[in-house]
């Protein structure tokens, strides 16, 4: 993270090079912002106004789209479903992966390196390869259209990467700290919960963020295993919403905007952890 006062680059503030840099950054930020601007202003327009005035600010702002979109309460229900599935699958994955990573990083046992390499190899296997057998399996044990099918599958898909990341991090815990814990008479589990986990907080935060983003955004598993409206996730719901109102662009944008609100809240509340956590795991 930035160390203030370390740089001496400020002096070239007005050179022609810095003007070019300003233009480049200004351009890329505009490209980043225009779709977001479009999303917000369009949600405040009526269909008629949208067709006449696609880019401008709404001349007659209306909240009608919001009341239409929220009328049947399904967006709220879908948001709740997404929250439950995300929370539980990330929780299961984090606990299970942390335990396994602890064994891989700090214990000696037969077959350790082979097992770890198998887990690592699984990181890049696309979920769609597993989806047909999994669907048949879930149909047979009657778990399709329950939260549990999605929770178990998401957890399973996230575990390989989670073990990889946490094992790398747990290895960096200094040997002396673990030894001192053993001298104090701590059990293995106690060394884990009292020493290693607190020291690895940045890695855990990263992992939870990356995984939660994955589940929240995921569509393939959600469309396949949570088909019933009562368990549908927000993102799958949004595609359905889009299909139903495909002629009413402002209403679609309103649904998309409402679907974005939870992410924005999480981001604003934890901006520091969000960016720092996301980056920390990779940069170390």
């Amino acid at each position: 993270m930035p160390v203030p006062g370390r740089r001496s680059v400020r002096r070239r503030a007005i050179s022609p090079g810095s003007v070019l840099k300003q233009i480049a950054l200004w351009l890329i930020c505009s490209v980043a912002l225009i779709p977001l601007y479009f999303l917000i202003v369009t949600s405040l327009k009526s269909k008629t106004e949208y067709l006449l005035n696609m880019w401008g600010l709404p001349l007659r702002p209306t909240l009608e789209n919001f009341s239409t979109a929220m009328a049947d309460g399904r967006l709220i229900a879908w948001t709740w479903n997404s929250t439950v599935v995300t929370f539980l699958s990330v929780a299961v994955c984090t606990v299970v992966s942390a335990l396994a990573a602890y064994a891989f990083a700090q214990m000696q046992f037969r077959g350790r390196d082979v097992l770890l390499n198998i887990f690592i190899a699984m990181i890049v296997i696309p979920p769609v390869i597993m989806i047909i057998p999994l669907f048949i399996l879930m149909v047979n044990i009657n778990l399709v259209n329950t939260y549990w099918s999605a929770i178990v599958i998401y957890a399973g898909l996230m575990i390989p990467f989670s073990i990889y990341l946490l094992t790398n991090f747990f290895r960096t815990v200094p040997r002396e700290i673990i030894d001192s814990g053993q001298i104090d008479g701590c059990s293995r589990l106690r060394i884990f919960t009292a020493l290693i986990l607190p020291l690895s907080l940045p890695a855990l935060v990263t992992l939870v963020i990356v995984n939660a983003l994955f589940v929240w955004n995921e569509l393939l598993i959600a469309l396949t295993f949570l088909q019933d409206d009562s368990v549908r996730t927000l993102m799958a719901g949004l595609t359905e919403f889009k299909g139903r109102f495909f002629l009413n662009q402002p209403l679609i944008m309103t649904g998309a905007l409402i679907a974005t609100v939870p992410m924005i809240i999480v981001y604003v509340a934890g901006q520091r952890y969000f960016v720092r956590g996301l980056v920390a795991g990779a940069v170390k």
Binding site: Q22, A32, I123
Partner: protein, 311 residues
Amino acid sequence: MTDPVNVIDSAARGLSYARRVRRGSVGAALTPYLYILPAVLIVGVVIVYPLVTIFQESTQTLSTGTSQYVGTANYDLVRTDPVFWQAVRDNATLLLAVPILVVLSLLFAVLLFERVRGWRIYRTLIFLPYIMAITVIGTVFGLLYEFDGPLNVALRGLHLNWLALDWLGNANLAIPSVMSVIIWRELGFGTILFLARLMSVREELFEAARLDGANWWQVQWHITVPQLRTVIEFFIIEIINMMSGVFNYIYVMTSGGPGFASQVLEFYIWQNAFAFRQGGIAAAAVLLLGVTVVFIFLQFRVRRGGAVADE
């Protein structure tokens, strides 16, 4: 203080004492396996079991109830399906986004690193697209790219009618349009990632290079890029992983169309299995698995290379 933490603490110590008494027995040797057991069980059900059964399913018809052994018939079906090859091509085309993303992210990370005035604001704005859900982004761009949608209205307003193309409706443009959206979203992540790594590079390295008379490009090529090597590799693996999840963009923006022009393997398999209910598509999944194995080897090579570079 007799707070609960202390009570738990001493209880744990008592427990560990009991455990140490048992040490040396079979129990202690089994402990590591108990720690990895839950992970093995879940991954066994979600990944290993499907990988094993997919081979069996790829040689059967999966029509309702009775399944029949059909040998390699399914593979022949997939192999001779032009849509399958279209999907392979589209996957390959989308990989073009990887070098573009790496170069652009590096460029903007370096610009921000040089403390251009207002860099903190730029940093926040560049990252904004990344916090948007992919489905939301796909929905927004789906509208923007409509033939009579906002982008083309703006282009026509600027008298650039020849540029007002049918971005998602033209078979040649659908995949590049989807790629532009992927780049739009991932650029923020790459930039922030590289910027964070740059900030931990020792300033003396840059100073020394400048004192030696290196120009801007030389500094980037000889200092920035080598210093960022491991992060760049991490980012590339992340992006390729993400590319296998490109289903989201396709499903929301083009539904594989127009016609079958914007397929990716993920969408092709899902659509045949669940929307068209065509049995035997498992064979395609097996073929995709074959490609994946190549990536697994690449990934291990990169990791080993990275480990050597760290030492």
